[in-house]
Symmetry: C2
Subunit: 228 residues, 2 copies
């Protein structure tokens, strides 16, 4: 490649930081890639934790990206109604090679109209919201449909990013990054999906997220209505 | 618990950001935990990527921690010789319930004299440096020896943090966090450790890191000499 690959990750308030930092670690290891953290303004953006994220470029200054990636988190509830964000995504998607997301970032792609007729995935708790945007919900850890790559919840971002790098560059590069990151996972428990988690843990989590789920259902319904 | 759990992660220049952000995501999900990002001064600290990390407290202002965690990265080469860092770790370790690390963060614990006689792990490429600090190198993804919890390379930080939370709080809490983070990993390739990676990938990586390994060997030898 003569020009650097331009890879951009969106930043926004209340992003789940690992949705972004997992893929960021993978993308930053791609030889010759230029990685951008993008927001409306260059100012520290609060995440879901004590960590703040400082963007490296803005919607206005960002070059045309080869890969655009939208992470998820509670902040996606606001982003699906943020016309400035949606317009930026639509404009970038026209020229991007890959239009991608991690976790509930796919709801933002959906709200921008970028998943109509595409299979897509998201966090297990939000999978039912995808169809409102004309996407075909697909419960898989990484979902690839033409140039749309979507990852499942939070930690799926690492599997997503390695999958994308294998297609964007080649398999050897993805494997070398996997080795460097010692990505040889060994979860101490088997509770990582609704299908494998103990019933009491799943029930506990569902109860805990019920209020935020009700709010999200309302916001996604309105975003879907604006789209159609 | 009446008082919040105090959990601190060290920040330093050229830290591998995912070494820190993986555990941060887990720790931030612990009910009642107060999480700190700690450095000498409150100023943006460059990582191994375009991301900067902004500390939330300083060595001087940090309260006594229940958990102290040192992430790794190229920056550990400097940290093993940084007396201000080592003094902070020694002081905190006296009162901490758990003294921990991810990736080459264990070399910094070692240089502080905190792993003498303890089994410990680190990134696969640095495992041979641990014995210089009197630690017992142990090739496992998460190594637990009394109150020392050390994780392997980069992504092992997630397995490490879930293991720690299960002991620090309880298994139910760790499982609920695993479900929330949908930590049900499915690496697209099997190259995540020297034992499983294709021979050509391992050879490629070893050749690529040879110069930095030579530099590291020299620095670790000197840090070990200062300790004894």
């Amino acid at each position: 490649m003569t020009e650097p690959l331009q890879i951009g990750l969106l930043v926004f308030p209340k992003v789940t930081q690992l949705d972004l930092t997992g893929p960021l670690q993978v993308f930053s290891s791609v030889p010759g890639a230029k990685v951008h953290l993008i927001w409306k303004r260059i100012e520290p953006v609060p995440t879901d934790s004590v960590m703040v994220l400082t963007p490296t470029t803005t919607f206005a200054d960002c070059p045309q990206l080869d890969v655009i990636c939208v992470p998820g988190g509670f902040g996606t509830d606001d982003m699906v109604g943020d016309e400035e964000m949606l317009a930026f995504l639509r404009k970038q998607a026209e020229g991007a090679k890959y239009v991608t997301s991690v976790c509930t970032g796919s709801l933002v792609l959906g709200a921008a109209g970028l998943l109509k007729g595409f299979r897509a995935t998201t966090h297990w708790s939000s999978i039912d919201f995808l169809s409102g945007f004309g996407a075909i919900p697909t419960r898989t850890r990484v979902c690839v449909d033409r140039n749309r790559f979507t990852g499942g919840g939070v930690t799926a971002g690492i599997d997503f990013a390695l999958t994308l790098v294998s297609q964007l560059v080649d398999r050897k590069t993805a494997e070398a990054i996997q080795l460097r990151l010692e990505y040889n996972p060994a979860p101490p428990f088997n509770a990582g999906s609704p299908e494998t988690a103990p019933a009491e843990i799943l029930a506990f989590m569902k109860e805990r997220i019920a209020p935020s789920q009700a709010r999200r259902a309302d916001l996604m319904g309105r975003a879907a209505a604006r789209l159609s």
